[in-house]
């Protein structure tokens, strides 16, 4: 460890991960100058409520600000995007032309919604994505206006939650999903079927195996109908494009960091790789924009668009940024996320997308109350619950201890004998999709060099 003094820490990205990192830096005793740079003008706010409470009309879109556990004594440069990074000069370039020098940098720029590919159609009134509080405010206002029908393009978690909010407000909604079922990219076909049943039971017009080929506007530039790949023409006033997220790494192009459309590669201590695949000492990454190896999952690089991941990596990055090298801690957080839709609480732990097989271990799929466990090469790799979240700690222990799959035990609320694992039915990853919550790719840090191939978004 060099005796270099750390006087200036800059965090690019002033949302959940940036905020938690700022708190953690102060908790860890950092007393120098702390600057947070964020492209959105609002102070950090929480995003999960945007597709739930806000769309239900219970909470205003601009009222989801995140609390601060402590004062962080920072300079906030909000509403100003970072546009470049000078690695040698240790400087962040901002959209207003200014330069911010740093001794340590944390990149937590997150993701943005994948826009509708046809720009003219995307510009129609009534066509929107849902990622920011401004998006949520617009969508909530459109729902207040009692649209004839809402079209949700993509049945991932965000799309499904939007559909749920529409139905709860008595609004007709069609969900168009390219895959065979909702949530299929994140949870596979078996649980996807349960999600599909849930949607239909709540009156969603769910159409799987179709894509939206075009959105049509009236003469005033308002969305009026949508054309589907099966030839259906659908009258709709609102179309929400929920096709996943794009990582905000464009500003790092040419910087020399291993940044690309799949995120910024980093080691398990959150240190960013340069484009040679060598860990930097002064650049750290956290949150949705990061991808880093996880010992428990075959050292595969995981990109996790999870709230909990942002919090954990932020704390970890803050710690590792300040500590001596021998005190660095690895990223060992077990991935976890939740979704609330159609009155059901869906929780996941581990990495379901790595699962080859799945088996219900408690409860019953048809009751919408169950735990299902995913196996990968004979060990437990993940578990998903519908309204059975209290049991997940037990399954976390199975994941952490690489317990054999299928888990065999006598216990409460077990399914009938003869319940056996079935293929988890994840879609072929080579078929383009709106993207699962977790993407797994095969590079290992034990390899001497990583072949990093920047690709267009």
């Amino acid at each position: 460890m060099s005796a270099e003094r750390i006087d200036r820490v800059v965090i690019v990205g002033a949302s959940l991960a940036g905020l938690r990192a700022a708190e953690a830096l102060r908790d860890e005793g950092f007393t120098g100058r702390l600057t947070l740079i964020g492209d959105e003008p609002e102070p950090a706010y929480d995003r999960p409520p945007l597709s739930k409470q806000v769309l239900l009309g219970q909470v205003a879109a601009d009222a989801t600000a995140l609390p601060l556990a402590r004062d962080v004594d920072a300079q906030w440069r909000l509403g100003t995007a970072a546009t470049g990074l000078d690695l040698d000069g240790r400087t962040v370039l901002l959209a207003d032309g200014s330069k911010v020098p740093f001794d340590r940098l944390l990149i937590a720029t997150g993701t943005r919604a994948r826009p509708w590919a046809n720009e003219a159609e995307a510009a129609l009134e009534g066509v929107l994505t849902l990622r920011t509080s401004a998006d949520a405010g617009r969508l909530a206002a459109l729902l207040d206006a009692k649209p004839r029908r809402v079209l949700v393009v993509g049945a991932g978690f965000t799309g499904s939650e939007i559909a749920s909010a529409c139905r709860e407000r008595g609004i007709d909604v069609t969900v168009a999903e390219r895959g065979p079922a909702p949530l299929v990219g994140a949870l596979g076909g078996v649980i996807g079927e349960a999600a599909a049943r849930l949607q239909r039971a709540h009156g969603v017009d769910l159409r799987c195996g179709v894509t939206v080929t075009s959105l049509e506007g009236d003469e005033a530039g308002r969305l009026c109908r949508a054309h589907l790949s099966d030839g259906t023409v659908l009258e709709a006033d609102v179309a929400v494009v929920a096709l996943g997220a794009i990582r905000n790494t464009g500003w790092l192009e040419g910087s020399g960091l291993a940044a690309g459309p799949r995120g910024i590669a980093a080691d398990a201590a959150c240190r960013a790789f340069d484009h040679n695949g060598i860990a930097t000492d002064d650049i750290f990454v956290a949150g949705d924009v990061a991808r880093m190896p996880h010992a428990l999952f075959g050292y595969q690089f995981l990109s996790l668009e999870h709230w909990g991941n942002a919090v954990e990596q932020a704390r970890l990055a803050a710690h590792n940024m300040l500590c001596a090298s021998r005190d660095r801690r690895p990223h060992l957080w077990i991935p976890a996320f939740w979704s609330s839709q159609f009155g059901v609480n869906i929780k996941s732990i581990g990495v379901p997308t790595m699962g080859d097989e799945v088996v219900v271990t408690q409860g019953a799929l048809e009751d919408d109350r169950f735990v299902a466990v995913y196996g990968h090469r004979g060990r437990v790799i993940a578990a998903v619950s519908f309204d059975h979240g209290r049991w997940l700690d037990f399954y976390r222990c199975l994941i952490e201890s690489a317990a054999p799959f299928p888990p065999e035990f006598a216990g409460v609320d077990r399914p009938p004998p003869g319940t056996v694992p079935v293929p988890a039915c994840f879609p072929d990853p080579s078929v383009p999709s709106h993207g699962p919550t977790v993407t797994v790719s095969g590079y290992a840090p034990s390899e001497r060099r990583i072949t990093f191939t920047p690709a267009p978004a």
Partner: protein, 73 residues
């Protein structure tokens, strides 16, 4: 005051919805919805809920925390 519930930790014990019904609502059997920003009149409900949470999932503004102070464009 501002609050956030770590819904990974939350297990639907609903103690918050009992003790702070003007802030926390159970949606179905296990899903929790809540108001992330509340007025001072609901502070008591938030603090009672946060203390009672069996899994420590409710985070609130720390003592004396100010709103984000210096916004330099």
């Amino acid at each position: 005051m501002r609050l956030v519930v770590d819904l990974n930790r939350c297990q639907g014990y609903a103690q918050c919805a009992f003790l702070g019904p003007d802030v926390f609502r159970l949606h179905g059997e296990e899903s929790l919805l809540y108001d992330p920003v509340v007025g001072a009149e609901k502070r008591d409900q938030v603090l009672a809920a946060a203390a009672a949470c069996p899994v420590g999932a409710i985070l609130v503004d720390g003592p004396g925390v100010r709103e984000v102070d210096a916004v330099v464009g």
